[in-house]
Symmetry: C2
Subunit: 356 residues, 2 copies
């Protein structure tokens, strides 16, 4: 299989955590051993969590030698007084970056000597809580690092140079267009803001009449709400649906809400007004929002206004689509989308789309 | 990565050719070298074409040694007076099975010694135009063959025994449920018939108002038409759309058509009546169809009748869905689907679904 095959695995993995990594970029990493066997396919999941590269390296080591996993579990549980029992539990945990990084340096036993990494974004050269990711590849004596996008961030860039200076073969620009698209939200919120519209519809296009999307889709939406700067919803939806708009399915903080409405005479017993630690604003303007990551929620009316009047810099849609046909009228709008990423989510699908 | 990861690659590859292999089963095969590197991911594409296993083995050899590809091109072009220039052209060709099989036996140079194969269906033990696929793994000294489904076909079964008797490690039942679902159409048409309904809708559920799905989707539908025993269409669609219902986009034979209608006073200048070498029947009964592979095409009315009255043994739907929102009324029905396979197809998606 060629470089594109492995980079595609890394990119698809990263898409699963798109926006959830805010304010960090979504990054995926695939590690092959010296013989080309896939050892791990990982992605950065959330700001504060391990970067894609050390996570992939850690799991690659577990895959090479089960005793390294046992040792990691033993030391980690001892040090942090946790009770992780297996690889699966580690996978979804907020592992301490410094501990994990040091563990890798002490326990790699040259098992990844001459290994290859595929990374969607140039490994960072940035000394933060941990040393740069690029240094990790050098310390473990990787043979080659294949990269889709170079890092334009001034603080973090320079990783490719570190790798090359250490004699690692570096190839840039593999699946360049796909890698660039994956990075677009990050680039947007770094230089201004990134806005997307979330829509849930049945297979035959119905958005109304009770819950449309499955629990996993709604949990994903709550995870997104948990990282937003601002959630914008149309006044009609608030009046009709009386929503709470919190992030309870993800055990996360409810986002601040802007109700886009000309009138401000809302019934304040509507649940969204009574969520602790949340700001609510009512406004008929979408200018000067002072938020870098914004999700619009709503139905046909708000979406129509967004698209027809281009009242914001809305570029992307997130669509959850169930596998049910429902008797009901569809969202009756007229526009074309370019699918960027689509994935099964339990018995439905969801996808990120850009407006054509 | 575990066995399930590689079997999933084989299963997904096979789904791409579902039904197109009629009357053969859809089968996928992944080959890893002795170190676990992926060498090829292939599927059986069409009856008469190479089985998944020799195709995957052939391309695995090309991947191990580029000179084997050059030699294959040279000998094949010489023998059959063809002009294949590269691997891509071979990939989509109807390669001669006997020639390819013999070439593998003569040129493998033990390059796949200790290799591993993942096959969605037990390799055949059937001496047809070529020796059994199982023998090929034995001759090339594979270390292990991982299988999802055992072959219940009396003529072809026994492959696992051949492998085991030769000392190859055999593991059965990996991704058993997924492998079984992939095989369901084959099992159905072997014991009676397999019927599915083809529907094309926009992202918001509109099935009317001109062409809905993209060219690649329509070409796929024509490829399907090319292998059908019978295409069934509702009388209303014939009157309204005046279709041709041939398989021109796939350069294939137009299928026989049954128009499901109470009245038989059709305008015989409607193109479907004037396609050479095609039978057309008009009937208000869907009993005793004497066809093993049947596709229903139509819109809301026919689908409604099929689902509400269960007038046939319809179990699966094939849905092409564009990424466009269209102003128009949606297909307004009420039923649930279980997605079996969904895939991007240019700027749209398509999927196989079973009725819940």
């Amino acid at each position: 299989m060629n470089d594109e095959f492995y980079m595609d695995l890394a990119i698809k993995k990263a898409w699963q955590f798109l926006v959830l990594t805010y304010p960090n970029p979504a990054v995926g990493c695939v590690i092959l051993d010296e013989n080309g066997r896939i050892l791990s396919i990982k992605a950065h999941k959330k700001a504060g969590f391990l970067h894609a590269e050390p996570l992939a390296i850690l799991f690659a080591l577990f895959s090479k030698n089960g005793e390294i996993l046992s040792e990691f579990l033993r030391l980690y549980n001892q040090f942090f007084n946790t009770n992780f029992k297996n690889q699966n539990e580690l996978e979804n945990a907020d592992l301490d970056a410094k501990f994990s990084y040091d563990f890798i340096l002490k326990n790699h036993s040259n098992l990844l000597k001459n290994a290859t990494a595929y990374v969607t974004l140039e490994p960072c050269a940035h000394q933060g809580k941990t040393p740069p990711c690029a240094n990790l590849f050098v310390a473990l004596k990787f043979k080659s690092v294949i990269i889709s996008q170079s890092d334009l961030n001034k603080i973090a860039s320079g990783g490719a140079k570190i790798l090359k200076d250490a004699g690692i073969a570096v190839k840039m620009g593999v699946l360049n267009d796909e890698g660039k698209k994956l990075l677009e939200p990050f680039v947007s919120w770094q230089s201004g803001n990134f806005s997307f519209f979330k829509l849930a519809i049945s297979k035959n296009g119905v958005a109304t009449g009770g819950i449309i999307s499955n629990l996993k889709s709604r949990t994903h939406a709550h995870e997104l709400r948990g990282v937003l700067d601002l959630l914008i919803i149309g006044g009609n939806s608030v009046r009709t649906d009386r929503p709470r708009l919190d992030a309870r399915l993800a055990n996360a903080k409810a986002p601040d809400v802007l109700i886009y409405s000309k009138r401000d005479d809302f019934d304040k017993t509507i649940p969204l007004f009574n969520v602790p630690n949340r700001g609510v604003k009512i406004s008929n303007s979408l200018c000067n929002l002072n938020a870098k990551l914004i999700m619009y929620e709503g139905g046909e009316n708000l979406l129509k206004e967004m698209i027809n009047h281009k009242i914001s810099n809305l570029k992307w849609l997130l669509i959850y689509q169930s596998s049910q046909f429902k008797t009901g009228r569809n969202v009756m709008l007229d526009f074309s989308l370019n699918p960027l990423f689509q994935s099964k989510i339990d018995d439905g699908i969801y996808g990120w789309y850009e407006l054509c």
